[in-house]
Amino acid sequence: MDTLLALANGFSVALEPTKLLFCLVGVFLGTAVGVLPGIGPALTVALLLPVTFKMDPAGSLIMFAGIYYGGMYGGSTTAILLNAPGESASLATALEGSKMAKAGRGGPALATAAIGSFVAGLIATIGLAFLAPWLVEIAIQFGPWDYFALMILAFVTVSATFGDSPLRGLTSLFLGIMLGLVGIDKLTGQARMSFGVPELLNGIEVTTLAVGLFAVGEALFVASKRLREPEEIIPIKGSLWMTKQDWKRSWAPWLRGTAFGFPIGALPAGGAEVPTFLSYSTEKKLCKFPEEFGKGAIEGVAGPEAANNASAAGTLVPLLTLGLPTSATAAIMLAGFQQYGLNPGPLLFAEKPDLVWGLIASLFIANVMLVILNLPLIGLWVRLLGVPQPWLYAGIIVFATMGTLAVNPSPVELGFLFGFGYLGYLMRRYDYPVAPMVVGLILGPMAEAQLRRALQISLGDPMILLENPGSATLLGISFIALVAPFVMKGMNRFKAAED
């Protein structure tokens, strides 16, 4: 009951006209920058920090929260329309979303992403308001061994969903893991696979690889077969809006995506990628139209987008309750708090309830604003696809370079972007899936670092992975997920033999 009262009080703060204004500015800026690849909410908030430090704390924090949620909405737009996932968490959305967009179903894809984000954001924010103190107690108990097991689970489930050739899928995955080795080793600080090239020391940027393989590679591939089988992009086919069928197929993935995203996002090292991968593979397994996966299944957009947004709200759990910044954006938001002399954590709830609950209330408001802002925009976005094909692809390439250059204005980084683009083209020609490579680059280094931390704590004893209930359970599920398909196949064969 106390929570409800506090929340009501928060709404009375957040609904003040000036606060609403800040929130609106925030969601607007957030959506705008979320659309740009490479420029995420973290960077935007960082750039705005020096400007805002003379402003009212509650107002500017509400604005930052708006940017944070807005950035999540914006990220899906480019992933769906241009096949250019601007952040690693939009990767899973791009897989089915871009296929839908090319088939004239961009409208429903964007709509399910927006409404899914809304639903997920709403549920997750409710979770933030009511469950945060308990959730965070569980979350900090997660040790490196548990994270390692979680990464293994993501690896296993995702690998099962890529393409029809295990050989080509695994090749792509391993090349991605190899790229993940490049750069300074997190645990010893020495360079690996860098060969004295300073630009390699920071490793391969996920967005550079993803945008290169996806957007640039696709452009080359489409151009290469333009004369033989010209690609037809249909901006709108059928309904611009979601049909009854689309709704029916979307609601469950939204909820499941939220169920993955919120708790994993609340884990200090959970991140947004793992839940989107888990959601994608779950939806593919559960989908009643599995043949549509890979050709534009709406479940593949609805689930991961919901997971992505729910994890964003999840990240705020450790931030607000403990002052733990667990993502780049959260770290910057923390800096935002600190510039007003505020330290998030248990004390903040007690000392500045107006501010904290006002912030939480404004997350609800931001969410509503975003869905109102985004749904009418869908018609406009989809028309972008009606731009003549040469200009559309030329624009996509310019767009891809801009994001890369803004973060790291170096010709070497551009060289990587285009090199990966050519690689993506070759892989498409020989029917190698490109997504596993990005998955390998994201999960490989995370899994390695967590395993080595776990073994460092246990002084080299691998049993630590099985002695802890959390990691043992997760590894058990991974094992079942790995062998179940084979067992099922065997059973089916057995049955067939009996008949």
């Binding site: 607007f28 997190k186 954590g345």
Partner: protein, 321 residues
């Protein structure tokens, strides 16, 4: 309509922030942050931009980012492409000293022209509130008894946190090469490992742990400043506990090599004026940074001392062979 006005207001606010300059200043500066936008050095560079223009010391200041490899990529660029350029500055700090050694950077800080040290932050060693470790002596005994059993959580390998852990072991007479230091990505993860009781001790800048310390979830074993911190009078220093350990995570600005003495003086004067301005004081307060201004010549001596010290520690730990 309302939306468009709002947008414009926000936009002009952003655009104008860097432009409110006093009319008489003529200096045009470029500041390179050898890190991606949003990081610590980038924050310093952009704050300097703000203070330099707002206080009227400089007419215009442009910030550029050259990220990568602990700042050594930016350093290399400063030493080669900007050689002799008297209008460019680069932000750097303690972490770069280690990164140069670790990454075997061909360019070192000795090749730059030191201009000024600006800020410094004391580091702190903490343990979870329910830990049996009570004070610096306790921790020292444990490290001496079995360094493997004492796990340290902190930032990147070879960074300030790591160097502090190694210095602590060395100072109390344990084998620094045997410390069990676990680097985490980002303060949040290290802090979570502390709160979850996964590690023995945690190292970080004081500000990062402040909230948890005040909430009673973490206990301070020692801070690395010479005297107790103004904002944390209860936190004991290592020195007062008989551990002769002083480490500051400082940030500074340097200029390219090959500039004239006159250019060096101009830059030094400008930065000094900025560092003493009320605009800079406001920024320091807002960001929670401590003023640690040292002029060009003093900073040069200080820098040499730090380079020697860091190299010695990194050799002991085995990070540099």
């Amino acid at each position: 309509m309302l939306t468009s006005i709002l947008k414009r207001t926000a936009v002009t606010a952003v655009a104008l922030a860097g432009l409110t300059t006093a009319a008489f200043a003529q200096l045009e500066l470029k500041i390179m942050a050898p890190a991606a936008p949003g990081g610590g050095w980038d924050g310093t560079a952009r704050s300097m931009q703000q203070a330099l223009t707002a206080s009227g010391v400089a007419k215009s200041v442009q910030v550029s980012n050259v990220p990568g490899a602990g700042g050594t990529i930016g350093l290399a660029q400063l030493a080669t492409s900007n050689k002799g350029d008297g209008s460019t500055l680069m932000v750097n700090g303690f972490v770069m000293v280690g990164a140069i050694l670790l990454n075997k950077s061909p360019v070192t800080l000795a090749q730059t022209t030191p201009i000024a040290r600006l800020t410094a932050e004391a580091l702190v060693v903490v343990v979870p509130a329910n830990s049996p470790v009570k004070d610096a002596k306790d921790l020292a005994d444990r490290v001496k008894a079995d360094p493997a059993k004492v796990t340290w959580a902190g930032g990147s390998a070879g960074g300030a946190d790591h160097i502090l852990a190694a210095l602590f072991a060395g100072t109390v007479g344990a084998d620094a090469s045997k410390i069990n230091y676990i680097p985490f990505s980002g303060g949040g993860e290290a802090l979570a490992a502390m709160l979850g009781g996964r590690v023995t001790a945690g190292v970080s800048g004081y500000g990062e742990f402040e909230g948890q310390i005040k909430a009673g979830k973490l206990r301070v074993i020692g801070v690395t400043s010479s005297a107790r911190l103004a904002n944390a009078p209860d936190a004991p220093t290592f020195k007062e506990q008989g551990v002769n350990l002083e480490v500051l995570n400082w940030r500074s600005v340097v200029a390219p090599p090959g500039i004239t003495a006159e250019q060096r003086k101009t830059l030094g004067d400008a930065i000094e004026k900025m560092a003493k301005s009320k605009e800079w004081a406001e920024i320091l307060k807002a960001r929670g940074w401590d003023d640690a201004y040292l002029g060009s010549a003093d900073f040069e001596t200080f820098l040499k001392g730090e380079e020697v010290r860091v190299e010695k520690v990194m050799r002991e730990v085995g990070l540099v062979k």
